[in-house]
């Protein structure tokens, strides 16, 4: 959480996550650069081999990073992968930088033309694959450099999240970089198949997750007989420690939590990265975000000291076993007495 900023707040889970990630990257590079030539791959020069291994590795990790979001929406078992996705993004950026360094040190070296000039002048014709690669690299560097809670706090969750949506632009640029470049050469069929498979799988995952989200969003809470109250649902339907997510007409979603015989309503959006608080649970007496573990008190939507995050709270009523919700959000951190269940 946000008491103070450290380069990386290491936990046992993060160490294991990074170990699996780095082990996977090392296995990929060793298989590509060392094992495949031993097993009879066409001999390439070392620089070209590393260039391809780093570039294709960055593409695979970027695909994985983009798949984690919808996977976690569709199956909560993938949520732990979401938590440390920033490290995956930074490793992807490092692989892309290694790819660019190999290209600059081989294809753009040994020439009297400066590298920067060569980048802009050596792509004659109609297929500008270098430009797409440069665009993707610039976006990846920007996103990796801002993948820290300092930047999240500095820019605010909305702007930070908007900035990091550029990852989709980077992915499109990488696909164009490959399609207009390497895939134009003979012998690129396996890479073409992998690219097609990855893009189709990613699109399918996003479409399925978006379709499920749209179905939930279409379920708008009906008005109660007394304005401005809405009928949120049956109190008995909310399990202990969990939430009922309600969508007011034209407003942000609200999460109504049940804890020790009381109901409390807060914003569904976490103040950290707009994670789905209503899909979290009450741990240690606090609402806990499923994405990164940010916590908020039930009665006022404030993070426990020394943390300072706040989210909006809402008023509730209980009428004949039905929960009524006042959809007008209180200012973040406003104390609202919990609704005691009979």
């Amino acid at each position: 959480m946000s008491h103070r900023f450290v380069p990386v707040g290491w936990t046992r889970s993060k160490i294991l996550y990074d170990a699996a990630l780095l082990g996977g990257v090392a296995a990929y590079l060793v298989a590509y650069v060392r094992l495949a030539p031993l097993l009879g791959a066409t001999p390439l020069d070392d620089q070209s081999l590393r260039m391809r291994a780093f570039g294709s590795g960055a593409f695979l990790l970027l695909t994985l990073a983009l798949a984690i979001g919808p996977l976690a929406r569709l199956d909560p078992r993938f949520l732990p992968l979401l938590y440390n996705r920033r490290h995956l993004g930074v490793v992807t950026c490092l692989l892309a930088l290694a790819h660019a360094a190999e290209v600059l040190g081989w294809h753009f070296a040994f020439s009297p033309t400066p590298g920067a000039v060569a980048l802009l002048t050596t792509e004659p014709g109609a297929l500008p694959f270098i430009a797409f690669g440069l665009l993707a690299l610039c976006v990846l560097i920007l996103l990796a450099a801002t993948s820290h809670d300092f930047w999240l706090a500095f820019l605010g969750p909305g702007l930070w999240k908007g900035l990091h949506q550029l990852i989709y632009l980077a992915y499109a640029a990488v696909v164009a970089h490959l399609a207009f470049g390497r895939l134009q050469d003979p012998g690129a069929l396996p890479l073409a198949l992998l690219l097609g498979l990855a893009v189709c799988a990613l699109l399918a995952l996003h479409l399925i997750a978006a379709s499920r989200e749209a179905r939930v969003d279409a379920d708008i809470a009906p008005p109660a007989p007394v304005a401005p109250w809405l009928i949120a649902g049956r109190a008995a339907a909310i399990p202990e420690g969990r939430a009922l997510v309600v969508r007011p007409p034209g407003g942000e979603k609200v999460a109504i939590f049940r804890h020790e015989g009381r109901l409390s309503a807060v914003s569904h959006l976490c103040a950290h990265q707009h994670g789905p608080l209503g899909e979290g649970q009450v741990l240690d007496g606090c609402i806990t975000c499923p994405w990164h573990g940010y916590q908020y008190r039930l009665e006022d939507g404030r993070s426990p000291p020394p943390f300072t995050e706040r989210i909006a709270t809402y008023r509730l009523r209980l009428v004949g076993g039905w929960i009524w919700l006042d959809p007008r959000a209180n200012p973040p951190g406003t104390h609202v007495p919990a609704l005691v269940l009979p």
């Binding site: 936990t11 046992r12 889970s13 993060k14 294991l16 170990a19 699996a20 082990g23 996977g24 990257v25 090392a26 296995a27 990929y28 590079l29 060793v30 298989a31 590509y32 650069v33 094992l35 495949a36 097993l39 791959a41 001999p43 390439l44 070209s48 391809r52 291994a53 590795g57 695979l60 078992r77 949520l79 732990p80 992968l81 979401l82 938590y83 440390n84 081989w106 294809h107 753009f108 070296a109 040994f110 020439s111 009297p112 033309t113 060569a118 980048l119 050596t122 004659p124 014709g125 694959f129 270098i130 470049g181 390497r182 050469d185 003979p186 012998g187 396996p190 890479l191 992998l194 573990g293």
Partner: protein, 240 residues
């Protein structure tokens, strides 16, 4: 959850499978992509031409007749055994020194040799030394041809890089040609037994500048072809 000190019990087995499965999946993908045919200049492009004669390298150097059109070339040997070496300097640069005074002269040159298929390049470390006058080898006209293939630089195509051709190598080829490395045309199908042709302009000089945007792409060009010893020279005209 990821933020918990230990993952919940019901997720541990699933996360263990993921932690083992991800590296294994990446290992498999690395092998598949690494083993895939990767060099577009593989056997298909190395079929033509005669074997390179044994050259006394690097001592005491190579002796032959130097000509400058369409590029600096060194013709080694005589008659049917003559072999023409493309000349280049270090890196992506033309041969060192002012060669204009050596045109048509017998010279001795030192450097290192690159070869692939039926082209060979001598990369010079120092300007050749003149030995005296000589008669440049004769050329034989082979008529007009329409050939499909790729424009590349003679250094990378001659095994300076692997792969030394292809779209991904386009920028490198453009820099090499800008630096004065002789251009070659890598034919899709061998032409009279040759997969690599020296690419010249219609006027007998270097490749026409209008062809620069076509570097690295699969193109069909037309022009006259000449035989110079064991080397074919393709005088390609800019398309349409």
């Amino acid at each position: 959850m990821g933020w918990a000190a230990r993952p919940p019990a019901h997720l541990r087995a699933f996360l263990r499978r993921l932690a083992l499965g991800l590296p294994l999946m990446l290992l498999g993908l690395g092998l598949i992509l690494g083993l895939a045919p990767q060099d577009p200049a593989g056997p298909r492009f190395a079929t033509g031409g005669a074997p390179l004669p044994s050259l006394p390298m690097p001592e005491p150097g190579v002796t032959g007749v130097l000509t400058l059109r369409p590029y600096p070339l060194l013709h080694v040997g005589e008659g049917g055994g003559m072999r023409t070496l493309l000349l280049a300097g270090d890196g992506k640069q033309r041969p060192p020194g002012d060669l204009s005074v050596l045109d048509g002269q017998r010279v001795t040159a030192e450097g290192f040799l690159l070869s692939r298929g039926d082209i060979a390049m001598l990369v010079l470390g120092a300007p050749p030394r003149a030995l005296g006058g000589a008669t440049p080898p004769a050329r034989e006209a082979l008529g007009r041809w329409r050939i499909t293939g790729e424009i590349c630089d003679g250094k990378c195509a001659a095994d300076g890089m692997r792969p030394g051709i292809g779209i991904a190598h386009r920028a490198c080829a453009a820099l090499c040609l800008d630096g004065g490395i002789p251009a070659v045309f890598v034919s899709q199908a061998p032409l009279l037994g040759h997969a690599y042709l020296l690419l010249a302009g219609p006027d007998g000089g270097p490749m026409d500048a209008a062809l620069r945007p076509l570097i690295g792409r699969r193109v069909t060009l037309e022009g006259r072809v000449e035989r110079l010893g064991r080397l074919l020279i393709f005088h390609a005209e800019p398309p349409g």
